[in-house]
């Protein structure tokens, strides 16, 4: 949860009065709130933390950071299967997920 991850804004929509984007983090696409970076546009790169864009970033550093995070397993930690990881760490079976979310 702690590190902010750079990503590329691929789409922007208004939702319930809030500007929301789809952001691509090296292949994983997530909904991201733009309330704190209101003038960002499609194609821009930003540092995103738990679903919020916090600072603009240039493309080159965004790409090199993403590459590094991929290698270090940061992307898996941020977007991967937390229950599976916790189960592996605990040496236990993963608990059953609810059917209806």
């Amino acid at each position: 949860m702690c590190l902010a991850v750079p990503g590329k804004v691929v789409d922007i929509q208004e939702r319930d009065g809030t500007r929301m984007a789809q952001v691509d983090f090296g292949g994983v696409v997530k909904d991201v709130c733009l309330a704190y970076l209101p003038d960002i546009e499609v194609g821009d790169y930003a540092v995103v933390h738990v679903g919020f864009a916090l600072q603009r970033l240039d493309e080159e550093s965004a790409r090199s950071t993403l590459e590094l995070f991929e290698q270090l397993g940061v992307l898996e930690e941020e977007f991967g299967d937390a229950w599976g990881r916790a189960a592996a760490e605990a040496g236990a079976v993963r608990p059953v997920e609810e059917a209806a979310r």
Binding site: M1, C2, A35, H49, G51, L54, E77, A87, E89, P95
Partner: protein, 379 residues
């Protein structure tokens, strides 16, 4: 042991290291505040590449680690209640409470869900108006704007069944507490880059001046950390104590103004307990009175909690940089990532977990990392 050749730009890493070696004439003790930096340092063996006598002391900057036990126990208690959907970041699942963790609560039938963003928890609340949806709002200044927005939106959209269990901590008061401790050996700080992306750097000049310590805002990648160290030792050698920004690509002096306004509106600064360390004055945020209805501590009266911390765990000393993880007698024996006694063994930002993961058991002598021949190039 890692080698410079594994850095994403070995040549630049080499130049930074050469400069650090050429600058340093005396021993210095630097604290990296953030657990993400600790992890990166240990993973890349940066501490072992520095000149003899330059020590990196690992700081308390891991929100998972410093969330007080009482708050974890409250979370576990609320998450076990029928009718509650308890949402959390994945990092909190295995943080030990007094007698279990969120992972266990889920196994016992509690409706615990992992979300990527607090807005996901708010969306769950809107889909299930008949359930009480609680989000575990932990983290430093980086996470706080997200949690603040979730509560703000809940109020704006009239989502009454959404509340936040808040345990937010702030970095500058922790730096101050460390400097005031009689055992303090820290002579300079690498400040946490992403915290400053939100907050800017305005809180630091006063601390640098008062305690005569250089404070260098530093990123998380190996090269960023080397650059932060390079600037820090240069100041130390010159007898300076300024605030410098070594991470300008993600940090502006004024931080993120929109986020700062939201924090101001939703939160109030107050004293907060840090696990293993104790209460640090003005070091936390709680929801301001206007948002009391969305405060889980207010909504769920949780009483009768008696906390019991492991008698073996020395994570408080680890978090204050007083000992290194492997100096704790339980490290790697009673305490492992599978059976963590303290939160610092759980989180990927926790110093004990980083030492365990990269096998810093304190017994091996660091291998010299100077020549290309013995290196294994990666990537």
């Amino acid at each position: 042991m890692r080698y410079v050749e594994e850095f994403n730009n070995p040549e630049l890493a080499r130049r930074l290291l050469d400069d650090i070696h050429a600058t340093v004439t005396r021993p210095w003790a630097l604290m990296e505040v953030c657990g993400g930096q600790t992890h990166s340092i240990i993973r890349h063996g940066i501490d072992q590449l520095l000149p003899e006598g330059v020590e990196l002391i690992h700081g308390p900057g891991c929100p998972v680690c410093v969330t007080p036990l009482e708050m974890i126990d409250k979370a576990l208690e609320i998450a076990s209640r029928p009718g509650v959907v308890f949402c959390s970041f994945g990092d909190m699942l295995r943080v030990p409470g007094t007698d279990r963790d969120l992972f266990r609560v889920k196994g016992e039938g509690g409706d615990v869900r992992v979300v990527y963003s607090p807005l996901d928890a708010l969306a769950i609340a809107r889909r299930h108006p008949d359930r009480e949806v609680v989000f575990f709002g932990v983290g430093f200044e980086t996470t706080a704007p997200a949690n603040a927005m979730a509560v703000h939106e809940a109020r704006r959209l009239g989502v009454r069944n959404f509340s936040l269990l808040v345990s937010h901590v702030r970095v500058p008061p922790a730096i101050e507490a460390i400097m005031r401790s009689p055992d303090c050996r820290v002579q300079a700080f690498l400040a946490a880059g992403h915290v400053c992306s939100v907050m800017g750097t305005a809180e630091y000049p006063e601390l640098a001046e008062r305690y005569r310590v250089p404070i260098v805002v530093t990123g998380f990648e190996p090269l960023d950390i080397l650059e932060g160290i390079r600037r820090t030792v240069r100041q130390l050698e010159r007898g300076e104590h300024r605030v410098e920004n070594a991470y300008p690509r993600a940090v502006q002096e004024g931080g993120n103004p929109a986020a700062l306004r939201m924090l101001e509106e939703v939160f109030t600064v107050g004293d907060r307990a840090w696990r293993g360390i104790g209460v640090i004055p003005r070091s936390g945020w709680r929801l301001s009175d206007a948002y009391r209805d969305h405060d889980a501590e207010h909504r769920f009266s949780v009483s009768g909690i008696t906390t019991r911390e492991s008698g073996l765990c020395r994570s408080g000393e680890v978090l204050q940089g007083l000992i290194k993880p492997h100096e704790c007698a339980a490290f790697g024996r009673e305490c492992t990532p599978r059976t963590p006694l303290g939160a610092t063994m759980v989180s990927s930002e926790g110093a004990c977990a980083a030492y365990h993961l990269y096998r810093r058991l304190g017994t091996e002598t660091p291998a010299p990392a100077r020549t290309t021949e013995e290196a294994t190039p990666v990537g």
